[in-house]
Amino acid sequence: MCSLKENISHVTLNADTLISKINDRDIRIIDVRSRKDYSQHHIHNSVNLPLLELLSNDSPGHLIKLIQSMGISDDTHVVVYDNTFGALASRLVWNLLYVGHNNVSLLDITYDNWKLLGYDIDSKNVNFGTKIHTLNINNNILSTAEYLEKKINDDNTVIIDNRERLNFLEQHIPGAINIPYKIFASPNKILKPTNELEKIFESRYVDHDAEIITYCGSSGTLSGLAYNALKSIGFENVKLYTHSFKEWKQLQKTIAKQDDANYWDLSAE
């Protein structure tokens, strides 16, 4: 086990650090963008694992097979990036943690920014052979609808909805607080500096001892970003409700909303 401090520094990896390790065989860079985007150009030495394909079959066994075929073993340091403000990459990071791969980081900038900074890109496909990876499910970081439902009235649990404000006002899981995902980014990085992230949760009285469950619209990407934001400032007990609000509605669970106001009409088209 890593110490807590190492874990924190691990959540994101600085682009400069990645540059210095980019040809390192013990590091595996995963691009979660579409196959088409990847084939045009990508970070030098990265492999492609389109998140949307993964989500269509995110069984743990399937993911293990995929990462084994990318030459990832239990010790490989995996770095994930996307071009969607870190949300898609965050979801893969969570999936890797879920199947027991703890040595994983988010690249701290988006692909566009990487390009803008003039760092290494190319369109070469790389093959790192096949490695063996163990499967060690970490159920502590997953929330199902049933689990969440039991926690709604639990004083020690904070449910965080990461959708945009209007969606939240219209309907949300009872007891949830709203922290729109756009709060987390800084102008150049996918996550704000840790002191600023701390402030967001502090001002909302979210305690480090609390159990946190994050959710968003449908697939746990926006809330995946929140998951990583929380981990990056040392929150230990964080769970992602992967199937999020879409499933909650399908299951016809109780929904809360802000009544008696036509807030949607305030938004411009």
Binding site: E164, R165, L166, K182, R204, A261, W264, L266
Partner: protein, 596 residues
């Protein structure tokens, strides 16, 4: 050309912010949450710092950002866009008093917003509460062909003098200043203190000054302001302002919340008595404080050079001409134009704010924008040769709607979208009217051009309905046990030098408002004399000077009677829900905060 936008490299003329206030807010909020500060005291504090309550909830606030004199820099607009994405609904709202509002903000995020605003020199201080609200200035001040001189530096200096001034921290009620460019474009007579710049030319000298109007204002009961004296020289601007504020502070009604605006004081004392008090107080101020107090007038104007572009623009010429006709005004400076960007009831997305900032930085020689009086934004100092490309840029972000300066750009307060007092969704109604009028090309009709439509969601006048050619305020109507949204309509209001409050006409169910507007237009078309516009035709009618067969408001009323009929719920249930909702209509209001 400085069209680069960089929030870290900011050169703004006026910094209104004070960073410590964010911290202070945060501390007070904590005390309130821990029950160590009572709700009333916290509310007063919160309003003093620009955080207004929100409809039916204590958890959200509306943050009102003051834009003194309406002058806003591209970098400031970009900051507001960021804040809207992070803390609000992804849109911002441009108000009728040159504020920019972020709605549905979590109260706990307000200090963070204040801190971020301070980075670009903006403040929310004294944007609400019993203070001197944002000092307004005509959006055309400095470029208007009718103006005698630019009142902007005086508006800014007054704002600077009054912001955080102990004079105005606990007034009987809110207090408003409007500077205008000229009498025609003004809002000088419907405000506590209205100032129109004038030059007094005598044989000996040329003197700059103002026509000052006092005691006007819109609300549950509205008044048109009185002119203090023939001419107030600029040297007396500060002392007159101080005198008026002091008289109001001393004598204004602090007991009756419904009667505590200065216009009621003027009405109770009588104009002559009030005027004498002000003049006496001014003499005292002049004698005792001339040596210590003065306005800092900054007459420097920074004009940048804009690179010529000869880029070919492919566009629909018909649409461009339509826009050019209704959204631009020729400046007094040869070859330069002011461009009015129409929004829908003042709403603009964060993405549009960013694009607008870029467009302004690229094409405006003064590299700032103004917000107007009609929930719009004005980009000034655009060279004739750049109008086409600017139009195409606006078009690409959905900001090129025509009709800005016509009947087809109604004003609507926020109504039930966020306000505690609202009875109807006036905000959405304004958007529905705009869409309908534009689809009928009403904006192209020169006879309707100088008319306005303004809508408030309750009898208070945030939507300024009383100075509209056609004005509406919302309420609840009842048919048996069922309720339906309804609007009281007034006609013939205006806000220029002939300022006049509209005459009440008739109550119209919300779902018939659009038909009523169209019906009035058709009555006008049939009845008019050749030179009449809708505005001048109504003017004659409300002032009993009609020279056509429609003699009075009563005559119009008769013709509109069929539109007042509400079908039964079985016949048409649509009448029983408000715009933007499928639910049965019922009135629900919370506590108002204007008076807190």
């Amino acid at each position: 050309m400085n069209n680069k936008l960089n929030l870290n490299d900011l050169s703004i003329r006026n910094n209104w912010a004070k960073t410590e206030e964010a911290d202070h807010f945060s501390k007070m909020l904590k005390l309130y949450r821990q029950n160590e500060l009572d709700p009333d005291s916290f509310r007063r504090f919160r309003l003093q710092h620009g955080a207004y309550g929100t409809r039916m909830t204590d958890n959200y606030a509306m943050v009102r950002i003051k834009i003194p004199a309406g002058e806003i820099h591209p970098e400031q607009l970009i900051k507001i866009a960021q804040l809207s994405d992070s803390f609000s609904i992804g849109s911002a709202h441009i108000s009728t008093r040159q504020n920019i509002q972020l709605h549905w903000v979590v109260l706990e995020d307000v200090p963070e917003i204040m801190l971020e605003l301070a980075k670009v020199g903006l403040t929310t201080r004294e944007a609400c509460g019993n203070t001197i609200r944002n000092i307004m200035c005509g959006p055309l001040s400095g470029v208007c062909a009718n103006e005698m001189f630019d009142s902007t530096p005086y508006a800014l200096a007054t704002a600077k003098f009054l912001l955080r001034n102990p004079l105005n921290q606990n007034l009987p009620r809110k207090f408003k200043f409007n500077f205008t460019c000229c009498e025609k474009h003004g809002m000088g007579k419907i405000v506590d203190v209205g100032l129109v710049p004038v030059i007094n030319e005598s044989t000996e000298c040329t003197q700059y000054g103002f026509k000052i109007f006092l005691g006007g204002g819109l609300g549950n009961k509205s008044y048109v302001g009185h002119q203090l004296e023939e001419f107030t020289p600029i040297e007396d601007l500060l002392h007159t302002s101080i005198a008026v504020i002091k008289i109001f502070d001393r004598l204004g009604n602090r007991k009756n919340l419904a009667r505590n605006r200065m216009r009621y004081l003027v009405n109770e004392l009588g104009w002559d008595e009030f005027k004498n008090l002000v003049l006496k107080e001014r003499t005292i101020s002049r004698v005792t404080q001339s040596a210590t107090l003065s306005l800092e007038i900054d007459n420097n104007q920074n004009l940048n050079s804009i690179a010529e572009t000869f880029q070919r623009v492919d566009l629909d010429l018909m649409m461009y001409e339509r826009w050019l006709k209704t959204n631009t005004i020729k400046q007094k400076q040869t070859n330069y134009y002011s461009v009015f960007v129409t929004l829908e009831a003042g709403d603009i997305t964060s993405n549009q704010l960013r694009k607008l900032a870029k467009i302004c930085a690229t094409f405006s020689k003064e590299r700032t924008m103004r917000n107007g009086f009609s929930q719009d934004i004005v980009i000034r100092w655009v060279h004739l040769n750049h109008l086409k490309i600017l139009y195409s840029k606006l078009l690409s972000v959905g900001l090129a709607n025509p009709g800005a300066l016509t009947l087809a750009s109604p004003v609507g307060c926020s109504g039930t979208t966020s306000c505690n007092l609202a009875l109807t969704n006036s905000h959405r109604l304004a958007k529905e009217i705009q869409r309908k009028l534009l689809s009928l090309k009403i904006d192209q009709d020169d006879d309707l051009k100088d008319s306005t439509i303004k809508i408030s969601g309750c009898p208070n006048s945030c939507g300024q309905h009383e100075i509209a050619t056609i004005g509406f305020y919302g309420g609840g109507g009842r048919s048996g046990k069922d309720m339906y949204p309804v609007y009281q309509m007034s006609l013939g209001g205006r806000h220029d030098n002939y300022a006049r409050l509209g005459t009440n006409c008739i109550r119209i169910p919300a779902k018939n408002v659009i038909n009523t507007i169209l019906k009035i237009i058709s009555i006008f078309k049939q009845d008019r004399k050749p030179h009449d516009t809708l505005k001048s035709w109504l003017d004659k009618i409300v002032n009993s000077r009609s020279d056509t067969s429609v003699r009075s408001i009563n005559d119009i009323k008769k013709l509109l009677l069929p539109l007042t009929i509400v079908p039964s719920k079985n016949e048409n249930s649509d009448f029983y829900s408000d715009y933007g909702s499928n639910d049965n209509y019922h009135t629900r209001t919370g506590k108002g905060e204007c008076a807190a």
